[in-house]
């Protein structure tokens, strides 16, 4: 863990990630955070780069109204905590996901409502059975979606966060580990437990659990 305070010498050397247009000089997020200790307004660059992604994530989880509030909170908290940012990490997006995820912990009820609403919509949309493989017998497809929504809601916060960051946001295990401040092994074991719980609550063959 290297803090960005006074770390300009380190962060100045970061190259744009491989595969991106290398003819364009891109300042890394770490360099931006380091620079924000000299000139705090530089932090606004981080908002320009990541606000859209973080906002979409928040909307998916709790809906537009609460996402609006949480977007502002996420970046305000990020600014306050920038002294604790690990400056060896060039990309700040996982860190921002982590801050947003922590803030979401106080919004479980809205999340449950939103999942249930999505499940109802999903049950009546084309291809509703795809995710479940064999045709569901004892339960209707609509039931299965509702059960899945409830099952996600009933997971522990730790398991749910890992599962959503993986399935919806498509973060890598390493990125999830960074976001949540836990080892990669913990991400794997939480995801595995979450999957097991989900299977217990919603059996893939549609039998009554």
């Amino acid at each position: 863990m290297v803090r960005c305070v006074g770390a300009m010498a380190i962060t100045g050397n970061f190259q744009p990630p491989a595969g991106e247009n290398s003819s364009v000089e891109v300042e890394s997020d770490a360099a931006t955070i380091a620079a924000s200790f000299e000139d705090s307004e530089r932090f606004g660059v981080l908002f320009d780069r990541h606000a859209t992604v973080i906002y979409r994530y928040l909307v998916r989880r709790v809906g537009v109204d609460e996402a609006d509030t949480l977007l502002g909170e996420t970046f305000a908290v990020a600014f306050e905590r920038r002294a604790t940012y690990d400056c060896t990490r060039t990309e700040a997006r996982p860190w921002l996901y982590g801050i947003a995820t922590n803030l979401l912990a106080h919004h479980r009820r809205s999340e449950a409502r939103r999942l249930a609403a999505t499940a109802r919509l999903r049950a009546h949309s084309p291809g509703a059975e795809d995710a479940f493989g064999p045709v569901v017998k004892a339960l209707t497809v609509a039931d299965v979606w509702l059960r899945t929504a409830r099952a996600i809601t009933e997971l522990s916060t730790e398991e749910r966060d890992v599962m959503i960051l993986r399935a919806w946001e498509e973060l890598s295990y390493e990125e999830i580990a960074t976001a949540l401040g836990v080892p990669v092994g913990t991400v794997r074991s939480r995801l595995s437990r979450a999957r097991t719980h989900l299977r217990e609550l919603v059996p893939p063959d549609g039998r009554e659990p």
Binding site: V5, S40, D48, R56, T118, D130, W145, L191, R195, L198
Partner: protein
Amino acid sequence: MSNNIEGLDPVRGLRPDQLRPNEPAEPIVFSRHKEQLMTAISGTESYDDVIRMMPDIYPRLAYDDERAAVEYLGRVFAIEEIREARMEHGDTMLAWLRVGNGVVMVGHADEEVHRISSPRSLGRTTVQMMVYVHNVDEHFAHAFAQGADISMALQDAFYGERRYEATDLEGHRWHFAERFADIKARGGHVPDEATGGLPPEDRSSAM
């Protein structure tokens, strides 16, 4: 999707924008939050900013009740705390107060480690804070109205400054002054010959 990688397809299926196009994200949402963030950022100093701006030398003043001291110095002498810098240690704390381009640190009397005492427990002080203020007439009037213990009345000193002195709640001495040139610049009146601070026998010769 149907191969259900990692067994997460049911979860993926509940990702809201699987059903509808991405929620329209109004550009105004972003511009509003960006503006709020920038306002908050430009109005704050982090602890690190504060540490960075410290002068290379500044005094640490010892008080038996440092919280009361910070309140008093702010209310009576208009010396404001740099709130972002405060460090709490259980019952005691350290505070940094901004005085123009200078800083004073206010902490608990510490007889063991730093061997600094409040003037109240010593019965005397050995140092005086020398402070330039923007308008010493107003500063004096404000301090007086707030019940300051004025230990030297406002006077025009022979070396070209208007000044007064006050003793704070635990006995630290504060000297507040404004240069004649600055008084004139704000349209104030200064005497041609000032004698404040001269010994009585020298006053007539200076006149």
